[in-house]
Symmetry: C2
Subunit: 125 residues, 2 copies
């Protein structure tokens, strides 16, 4: 009979056991640590997670470019990670961040700058 130590229960335990999906990715949401605004959503592979933990700056995995991506490496708009929250089944993270500038490559503070209405999209408040 196999027993799982309580700390290794994925939902209730204290062991970090990230559950990467079939593509080797976790979902990660960056949220402004001060205002609570959701800035962006991206994916992390094990390498991106390791680099984020090691450096304290958000790293992601770009699905379109197929490579590790340090957020703000080119633009300077880094996301300093203040804390990381983990969800019940350990396949998603919330990064509480302090942004060095606009989080979106369009220059918007957040990538979520439009609201969905019955008539399409309009600027979010």
């Amino acid at each position: 009979m196999t027993e799982t130590a309580p700390e290794n229960d994925r939902e209730t335990g204290t062991a970090f056991m990230p559950k990467f999906d079939a593509a080797g990715l976790l979902s990660a949401v960056a949220q402004d640590a001060e205002t609570g605004e959701i800035l962006m959503l991206a994916f992390m592979n094990a390498k991106a997670l390791e680099a984020t933990q090691r450096t304290g700056e958000a790293h992601f995995y770009s699905r379109s470019r197929g490579k590790l991506w340090k957020k703000g490496e080119t633009s300077g708009n880094l996301l300093r990670v203040e804390s990381i929250l983990v969800d019940c089944d350990q396949d998603a993270l919330v990064l509480k961040v302090t942004p060095a500038g606009p989080a979106c490559h369009t220059g918007a503070r957040s990538c979520f700058y439009r609201a969905l209405t019955d008539d399409g999209l309009e600027p979010a408040e």
Copy 2:
């Protein structure tokens, strides 16, 4: 020469053109409309999105069960959708919601109830 009407530019336009991934899914983050707390992260296929828009209650697609899932259908802990935000490349949504009860199936208010530290996980504040 093909021209794209300005409203159909995915990043700057007013047309909703959701960009489903290879599995036919968008990422969706549920955020408490009042407190700003991130409650959960899940996925939506076209059907889940349609059902969410039609009913005003959050529906998702369960990757593990491979089917449409009305959040709270069993527990009663529905998420009433107050507004939906769309990101720059239209592959992720933020649902601003009013939760009818704990959003997490564990009974926690949010699925993100643990913080990642150097020593593993600990209860989030």
